[in-house]
Symmetry: C2
Subunit: 466 residues, 2 copies
């Protein structure tokens, strides 16, 4: 394990001041955590559950950024049936958190707020090793244990710098809304490369995403084939479970952004990488002007929001964004860029945005037939013999039969209005589309509640350049 | 050699009546030919040339259609230097043809008209076998000899039917304007398949262009690899020179058209295949209406005509048509169809036509940079830092850096006006473009002298369907 890098620059010292939780926050979190553990233990006893509360997450590892949340696991004995774990877990959690909100990952957990701190209470199994894990969350305590053991106290601030950097460039967080680097991945990277500077130097040298591991945790031959085996842009093999890629959520774009940002930062370190200026919020008038300058057509599609958790809802929205883009291109329109954003909270409508370079097409459309040498050639000519919408007789081009026909949709908005429900949506999004959807033009996309999202869509860029 | 097919249908008998030269024409041709040969012989003697005149071509083979031309070769002794052959050849030819026009293939020859019959007088070498040939035309007498020997007199009308059919479907003629079947290829096909019906049956069965030969003229192993060796849509190995593909000029489209026409004809034989109705000549108003229905943009580019022979000029025009289409698509416009036609004679202007489904593009254009992981990534970001025409900051998409920039040409006509001279033209076309070219809109393309060509362009189709 390389030695931690303690020769911090003035900039990094300043950043740490800003992102490290102040002593008062640490003390308050510790108090809340201890109280919560005590109350969980009492509740477990009251409900007759064989469950042990345990603080996990970044607070426990002491790598948290200012304002972090608190994770308490209820570790159930492995002889508890899964149904009982779910039921008792929620009962215990509800008894310790007022006005908690039940959320769903693999099984239900409770999210609430205590004195302004976000708290998650998560039931899991207490297994002897990660290999015996029963549910996806059972692994977490082992992550904590590993980091506790391998991360030197002096490296905790290194992790904080890395997290703050990734947050600044928009690549922090493994949730599907971000598709970036999890806190655990940040810790592993610091363990692997010694410190913030070491991680940055390493990343700056990546010409493609590498396959990484913590020394001594993975056989060399596994690592050698890991890039191919996992097939993901970046691979970091979980030291507590070699079958798992901790970097699995990292998208190609977020990896590329991080690598490029690391190079740029090392060349010219500036606070802007940690604390970028927000994109300027354009007014509706400015949005219309920006779109006019681009000369493209901006079309929006809106559906209602959903109370489903991001990890379920966001991938569905992404899938629908791809399906709607495909619909447009299949019908001959040209999509330059697209995006989908759920509203600030589940209640606001979802907005799909499409920037089109060709949104109006001529009536005439080439309809491709078989090769003129194919045995079906005559069926084609027989079929296209004065059909409605036929604009030419069949003809031969590049050896194939062709006929010019009237295009079904000459305006992209008409296509979306007619066909948006019929593409392959996920279940929740399909329901929302079935209830109601609207195809909106730029004027409406520029108005509230969409102003911010359309404004951001029209100002793509690297976060530290704003 | 299969037996000639003599069981003609009433339709075929009628067609033959219409296309076979009447006895009076045969007699006149024979008289002109005999006279020409006598005069050539006298002139050769007068100029001291060791050259023997010889009638070749379809008239000599008795496979000609009504109104065929007359080919007379001047077969020079092989000890005549090439320069002397050229000089003496033209001298002799000019002395026998009044107002002849010198044309150029591999070397000059003379084209003229005698009593309304088109006559070509062509100097060549008299070689002992096709293998010893010195110039491309030396092969022709051997073609005549082969056909005379292998084509039965009863098969001559079979050749005429095939020629007439191919002419009807627009695939007769090896010249680059047509890219179809030469007269010699028609003769070989009839020799190979016995008769018109046999050729049609064979063609109807082709799922791809076959490699053919006359039985006994080509080793089997040569034939087996011929399709790959020649790499052309249709292969018929020249019985007098196995290194040559007689079907080499046949384009994929003309092959496909013939095969499909053969199937259609066998299913329902109609005179329309031999004598299609001409496409209706649309009036300028009808042309504008047809274009409006299609909703596409029709752009024309005109240059002056050229006195060069078709075989030189037409491939250059085709090349320029492809280069201009490429120019349009490179700049983001969508070309649905294009065409180029020289005027009815060399004096009329050339018209390039382009049908565009996207002829106006928005200002915003994506400019693709390197992968964000590439070492040049920073150069890209440094370069695109508020340049003129820059519409966005650099951003990452699919792992690559991108920037939105102002498109150089948003109107296809402006692009053609600015850049039509700068694409890769052949020499003659480049000269014509340098002198002057015009980019014209539909209104002008609908007017004379372009009405007929634009009218045909807007009515693609299979010839026998009009």
């Amino acid at each position: 394990m390389p030695a931690p890098d303690t020769a911090r620059t003035t900039l990094e010292v300043g950043i740490l001041e800003a992102v490290r939780p102040p002593p008062a926050e640490e003390a308050k979190m510790a108090r809340i955590a201890a109280d919560l553990v005590a109350r969980c233990r009492a509740a477990a006893e009251f409900f007759g559950a064989r469950a042990e509360p345990k603080v996990v997450g970044s607070f426990e590892k002491k790598t948290q950024l200012k304002g972090a949340d608190l994770d308490v696991f209820l570790l159930f004995s492995v002889d508890t049936p899964l149904e009982a774990l779910k039921e008792l877990g929620v009962k215990i959690a509800k008894s310790v958190i007022d006005e908690g909100e039940t959320r769903y990952a693999e099984h239900p957990y409770l999210r609430g707020r205590i004195e302004g701190v976000r708290v998650d209470v998560v039931p899991a199994y207490k297994v002897a090793s990660a290999a015996e894990m029963r549910t996806a969350v059972d692994r977490t305590p082992f992550h904590n244990e590993f980091v506790r053991e391998r991360l030197a106290p002096s490296q905790r601030d290194e992790v904080r710098l890395l997290k703050a950097f990734l947050r600044g460039v928009g690549a922090y967080g493994s949730e599907l809304r971000v598709q970036g680097f999890s806190g655990y991945l940040c810790e592993l990277l610091v363990i692997r490369f010694g410190g913030f500077e070491g991680v940055m130097q390493a990343a700056a040298g990546w010409r493609e995403g590498p396959a990484l591991s913590v020394e001594g945790t993975v056989p060399t031959e596994v690592l050698h084939t890991a890039r191919r085996d996992f097939g993901e842009p970046l691979v970091f093999i979980d030291p507590v479970d070699p079958s798992r890629n901790v970097a699995s959520p990292v998208s190609l774009d977020k990896l590329a952004l991080f690598v490029f940002a690391a190079r740029e930062y090392l060349r010219d370190p500036r606070p802007l990488f940690f604390f970028p200026n927000p994109k300027r919020a354009l007014t509706p008038t400015e949005i219309r002007e920006a779109a006019a300058t681009r000369g493209t057509r901006i079309l929006g599609v809106t559906i209602r929001g959903s109370p489903e958790v991001d990890d379920v809802w966001i991938p569905q929205l992404r899938k629908s964004e791809r399906a709607l883009s495909k619909l447009l291109t299949t019908y001959g329109f040209t999509v330059a860029r697209s995006d989908v954003q759920a509203g600030a909270d589940g209640g606001e409508p979802v907005l799909f945005l499409f920037e089109l370079t060709a949104s109006h097409l001529p009536s005439a459309n080439k309809h491709f037939g078989p090769s003129a040498l194919h045995e079906n050639a005559r069926d084609f000519v027989e079929k296209w013999n004065g059909r409605p919408g036929q604009l030419s007789k069949p003809y031969v081009e590049e050896g194939r039969l062709m006929v010019d026909v009237t295009r079904e949709f000459t305006d992209a908005a008409d296509l979306l209005k007619d066909r948006a429900t019929s593409v392959a949506h996920g279940k929740g999004v399909a329901d929302a589309f079935a209830e109601r959807f609207d195809v909106i033009e730029l004027d409406d996309a520029a108005r509230e509640p969409f102003t911010g999202r359309t404004s951001a869509f029209l100002q793509p860029g690297l976060p530290w350049q704003f």
